[in-house]
Symmetry: C2
Subunit: 411 residues, 2 copies
Amino acid sequence: VSLSRAEAEAMDAADPLARFRAAFDLPEGVIYLDGNSLGPPPRATAARLAEVVGREWGRDLITSWNLNGWMDAPLRVGAKIAALIGAGPSEVAVADSTTVNLFKLAAGALSLRPGRQVLLTPADNFPSDLYALEGLAGLIPGVELRIAEPEGLLAAIGEDVAAVVLTQVHYKTSARWDLAQVTAAAHAKGALALWDLSHSVGALAIDVTAARADLAVGCGYKYLNGGPGAPAFVYVAERHQAGIRSPLTGWMGHAEPFAFEGHYRPAADIRGQVSGTPGVLGLAALEAGLDLLAEAGPAATEAKGLALAELFMSLVETRCAGHGLSLLGPRDTARRGLHVAYAHPDGYALVQAAIARGVIGDFRAPDVARYGFSPLFLSYAQVWDAVEILREILATRAFDRDDYRRRATVT
Amino acid sequence: VSLSRAEAEAMDAADPLARFRAAFDLPEGVIYLDGNSLGPPPRATAARLAEVVGREWGRDLITSWNLNGWMDAPLRVGAKIAALIGAGPSEVAVADSTTVNLFKLAAGALSLRPGRQVLLTPADNFPSDLYALEGLAGLIPGVELRIAEPEGLLAAIGEDVAAVVLTQVHYKTSARWDLAQVTAAAHAKGALALWDLSHSVGALAIDVTAARADLAVGCGYKYLNGGPGAPAFVYVAERHQAGIRSPLTGWMGHAEPFAFEGHYRPAADIRGQVSGTPGVLGLAALEAGLDLLAEAGPAATEAKGLALAELFMSLVETRCAGHGLSLLGPRDTARRGLHVAYAHPDGYALVQAAIARGVIGDFRAPDVARYGFSPLFLSYAQVWDAVEILREILATRAFDRDDYRRRATVT
């Protein structure tokens, strides 16, 4: 039997995170199921940016680097991310993009495992991660990027592997790797585990310490609501910080940046992963997003997010049956992230028709409709309404209209 | 004879760029001579960011990547920088930090000159540039970073040099390398010239095309007034774009980012230098800064900037003589950038005492007071007043106060 809208409303009434919905200002009539691609702005972000531009940059000018904590921002904001992933406060720094950070830490993994020259990754890893690793392997003679089928990944970890590089939650299927299990399998062969947490940070209650994860990167603009192209982060377990070498060496990673020494001398802590001057505007917006997640707490965030995804999947099963939607990835929420994707023969047109009705999701080639369930700003009733809109579109074949079928070149 | 304040005011009355002062909102009583380190915010920036956060990010949400031109921003903003440095509109992209971009293009230079493994740079290059090159050389076996004394740089260009890497205007002395002359010397030996334009872009009327410069990077937060830690830029001459290989390969540099192909296939144009998702907030602020410079034009900007620097130097000579200020770098404005630096036995305390009187400059170890002359928001009368304040401080030894002498750990 299918849950009623009244029952969904009752779930909202009992939701301990319900108050966070008022911290966002989403457009009227929109059910935003794309926070897994671009989180929306918290209300506090605009005011925070106005403060940074007006008072800090405009009035305090150059003195803000010390006076307003700009110099420390990569580590201060990093510590707020650390709290979301079970890391120590001095194990995370915010810097650069996810892609650049992956390059940095993959090279760092090679420096921590001298004599090993292989980076191992699953074939279905996020393409930009594959590209970053290809770039590194192409740059250093002798380094090999070994690509394994996902089901054979653990068996492919050999004694020549410096690091296994993988994304915890798959960007399309939402399938979740077991952080502790894969890390243990890597360690058993003397390899490191380098994780991309882009589709899980701020969504799942990650614990890199319990999993003994070595290295990680992640994205600031999805569940962290840090803004379009927000700066990314790096995690380096404390036990590796003295030994790891970043190839992207800049003054902000120097032991004494303002000594202007002629040779690079790395900071012995997480600051060694920061290279250029930090982007203060991006950091400020990211911090506003993180402050909400810190208040909500990772356990409650994960619990609600998975409950929203579970509700969506179960309502689709009961109310949209027979309309050709085929779930990607595992059905069990314990083995997935907070987004849910379905293949459908008319996937693109379906996504467009739903957007026209206010249900914002996204399309991934060739035929996938993807919907994400950010816990801070979504309600259970919205999930119910979204499924009802999808049901109506599917039942009436509303997606058959030409203007929904026209393909954008970039989606 | 010394120019009078009335004469300085007359120069302001005749200044074709005077109207740009109203485009900034600097604090009352402040003469900001540190725009060469951190340019102040144009008035338009706060409104532009509010628009990006409120309407684009908050209302249009994920659709902004296409609808509001976020995807194209690295090249659109890049084209505005191109106009300032004499490049073609498709020769510049905004991405990453200056340090990361220098790593990227130095590796790119090696890819354009197979068989050559030496990167040559002057010993007094900006430390973060030296660090980036050290990082690259340390990563790839066989690559050598060769460091030459500045006066022997041209003679040190051998047939084994892939690229000469240098900063057009020195961050401390303001000494200017001749863009065309050094580039020609590099080309004569089959090497490329890779320029860091951080201390000259938005200040001097650079012409990379006339100079036949091959590659360049530069900073967005100095004379471009793009905001603290603004994104940086890369210039790749069109003739090199098809052949150059970036080591930092991410989805935004892929020929088809949203095809999500399993292997990297570089865009054949300047987009190949973009790696991760662009930071939209930083790009928006940078664009607001660039729009003012585009309106002013590089020739007028350089003319006024050099006139301000000339006025400062000549007033210091006539009004501050005998007080121990010793000019760094060449006296001739044709051979320098827009900042002026003096060694003084009490350099640090002098800078602090002037800041207390509203004249904001900065200190560079061990004993250097540095002042920058941004053409858009400074007046000739302010330059006159700044020298008068310095004269009073020097004449009364006001810098002898203990609170000026106390050293900050980071300045």
